[in-house]
C-alpha cells in the first residue's frame, strides 16, 4: 500500500451479472489533491472502476481503502466526503424539482436554512439554473440536466469527486462551464473520459486503460503526447 494514498483499490476485480468482466485485478492509488484522468476506449471498464473506487459497487476480489480504512465497512462516515457525477444525468436526478436536487445533500448535512438558500442561489446563478429551478429534472434538456447534476455535487463541497464522462452530450457553453468549474476545484478529482482535451485541461495524472480492461500506463500529462500508442489502444 502507498502510505500517503487517499484512495486505494488493491487487486480489485468486478464482473457484471451477465458474466461480462468489468475489469480484472487492478491496483490503483490516488493521493490527496490529485486530479486523475482515467482514459480509455468505450467499454474498457473506466466507469465500473470509478464506481468500485467510490464504494458504489463491491469488488469481487481485493479491497478499496480510504485513508487506509476499509471503504465498505466505513461507508456511512465516508459517503459525505465523496461526490459522484454519473455519465447519464437521468440516473443521478431523482427529486421532483431542480431546487430539490440542489437542496438534497444540504438537507442531509442539516445546514442552516439561510445558508442553504444562499448556496442554492449562488449555484443556480453560477450554473445558470435560475429559470428552471421549479421544473422536474426529467423534463430538462441534456445540457441542463448535466449542469444540475454537477451543481448538485459541487454544492456540498465534497473532498473527493468522481466524474464519469462529465462533458458527454453537452453543448459548448455547458462544456466550458464544467471545465472552468473543475479547473478551480481544490479537492481530489477522479474523472473518466475519452476526450484527451478534457484530461489535458483538468488532470495532472493520466491512467490509460485498454480494450482488454487493463491499466496499460500510469503517468503525467506527457503520456498524452505518445499519439501512436494512444491510437494503438483505441483512444484516438
Amino acid at each position: 500500500m502507498v502510505d500517503d494514498a487517499l484512495i486505494s483499490g488493491i487487486d480489485i476485480s468486478y464482473t457484471y451479472p451477465d458474466g461480462t468482466k468489468g475489469f480484472n485485478r487492478l491496483t490503483v492509488h490516488v493521493k490527496k489533491g490529485e486530479k486523475v484522468a482515467l482514459i480509455g476506449p468505450n467499454g474498457c471498464g473506466k466507469s465500473t472502476l470509478m464506481m468500485v473506487l467510490a464504494g458504489l459497487l463491491k469488488p469481487e476480489t481485493g479491497r478499496v481503502l480510504i485513508e487506509g480504512r476499509d471503504m465498505h465497512s466505513n461507508i456511512d462516515s465516508i459517503r459525505r466526503r465523496i461526490g459522484f457525477v454519473f455519465q447519464d444525468p437521468d440516473v443521478f436526478l431523482f427529486n421532483p424539482s431542480v431546487e430539490d436536487e440542489l437542496r438534497y445533500s444540504l438537507v442531509q448535512l442539516e445546514m442552516d436554512v439561510s445558508e442553504m438558500d444562499m448556496l442554492v442561489n449562488e449555484f443556480s446563478k453560477v450554473f445558470n439554473l435560475e429559470n428552471i429551478l421549479h421544473k422536474p429534472p426529467f423534463r430538462l434538456s441534456g445540457g441542463e440536466k448535466k449542469r444540475v447534476e454537477v451543481a448538485s455535487v459541487l454544492i456540498y463541497n465534497p473532498d473527493i469527486i468522481f466524474l464519469d464522462e462529465p462533458t458527454s452530450n453537452v453543448d459548448g457553453k455547458t462544456r466550458r462551464k464544467i471545465i472552468e468549474t473543475l479547473e478551480t476545484y481544490n479537492g481530489t478529482l477522479i474523472l473518466s473520459t475519452h476526450e484527451l482535451e478534457i484530461a489535458e485541461k483538468i488532470a495532472d495524472r493520466i491512467i490509460l486503460m485498454d480494450q482488454e480492461k487493463r491499466m496499460v500506463l500510469d503517468g503525467g500529462l506527457e503520456t498524452l503526447e505518445n499519439r501512436s500508442f494512444l491510437e494503438e489502444i483505441g483512444v484516438i
Partner: protein, 243 residues
C-alpha cells in the same frame, strides 16, 4: 431499519433486472439448440419438478439440471444465485401452513419444487436470448397476441427495474448520512413519485422506439436439432417415472 428496507428493495430490483439476462459471454451446447426444443424440454423439466411431492423425484430433476449446466460449461453458482430467492420466498410463504396445518417435510419439499422449476427456467434463460425465446414460441404456433403480450411485459419490466435500480443507486451515492425514518420515508415517497413519472416517460420512449424500429419478431440463427437435450430430458422423465 429503513436502510435495510432500501437495501432489500435494491437487491430485489437488481435480482429481477438480472433475472432475464442471457449469459452471452459463453457459447455452450444449449446456446446452439433450437429455441423451440429448449422451450419444450424446459416445460417438461418444470412439469417434472412440480408434479410430485416425492423428494427423490425432485432431487433427480434438480441434480440432472445442475449436472447438465456444469457439463456444458455454465457457471452453476450463477444458476444457483438466480434461482434461490424464489425458493427462499416460497419457504417463508409455506412456513405457517407447514407448522399449523401440514408437516415439516412439506416445508422443505415445497421450496425444493420451486427451486427446481426456477432452476430449469433459469437454465433456459441463461442460454437463450429473449428474441430467440419469442422466435421459438412463434415456431410452436403460440398465438401472436400472447407473444406480443410477453414481449411488451419483458420490455417494460426490464426498463422499470432498471429505472428503480438507478434511483436506488443514485440515492445511495448521494446519501451523506444515515437519516431518520421520517426523513427517509419522505425522501422515499418523493423518489417513488418520480419513479412512476419516469416510468411513464420511459414507456412512451419505448413505444416510439418500437414504432421507429418495427415490431416484427424474426430470428434466423443456425440451430442444432438438440437431439442430445431431448434424449437427456426423456431419460430424466423415464427415470422419474420408475422411481
Amino acid at each position: 431499519m429503513h436502510l435495510l428496507i432500501e437495501k432489500s428493495i435494491k437487491s430485489a430490483a437488481s435480482y429481477f433486472q438480472d433475472f432475464f439476462i442471457h449469459e452471452y459471454t459463453k457459447v455452450s451446447y444449449l446456446h446452439q439448440v433450437h429455441p423451440s426444443v429448449k422451450i419444450l424440454c424446459t416445460f417438461a423439466l418444470i412439469l417434472l419438478s412440480i408434479a410430485t411431492f416425492d423428494g427423490r423425484r425432485i432431487a433427480l430433476v434438480l441434480i440432472s439440471l445442475y449436472l447438465l449446466a456444469f457439463n456444458i460449461g455454465l457457471d452453476v453458482r450463477i444458476l444457483f444465485k438466480r434461482s434461490i430467492l424464489f425458493a427462499a420466498f416460497s419457504f417463508l410463504i409455506v412456513l405457517p401452513i407447514s407448522v399449523f396445518e401440514r408437516n415439516y417435510v412439506y416445508l422443505f419439499l415445497f421450496p425444493l419444487r420451486v427451486f427446481s422449476s426456477i432452476s430449469a427456467l433459469q437454465l433456459f434463460i441463461l442460454t437463450t436470448r429473449f428474441s430467440e425465446i419469442l422466435y421459438g414460441l412463434k415456431k410452436l404456433k403460440i398465438p401472436e397476441t400472447m407473444i406480443n403480450v410477453i414481449w411488451l411485459t419483458y420490455r417494460y419490466a426490464i426498463s422499470m427495474f432498471r429505472d428503480l435500480l438507478n434511483i436506488l443507486v443514485a440515492r445511495e451515492a448521494r446519501r451523506l448520512k444515515t437519516s431518520s425514518h421520517l426523513d427517509t420515508l419522505k425522501g422515499g415517497s418523493k423518489a417513488l413519485g418520480l419513479f412512476l413519472l419516469r416510468s411513464f416517460e420511459t414507456a412512451e420512449k419505448i413505444e416510439m422506439a418500437m414504432n421507429s424500429r418495427g415490431r416484427g419478431i424474426s430470428y434466423d440463427g443456425n440451430y442444432s436439432s438438440g437431439l442430445f437435450y431431448i434424449i437427456y430430458t426423456a431419460g430424466v422423465a423415464a427415470w422419474w417415472m420408475m422411481l
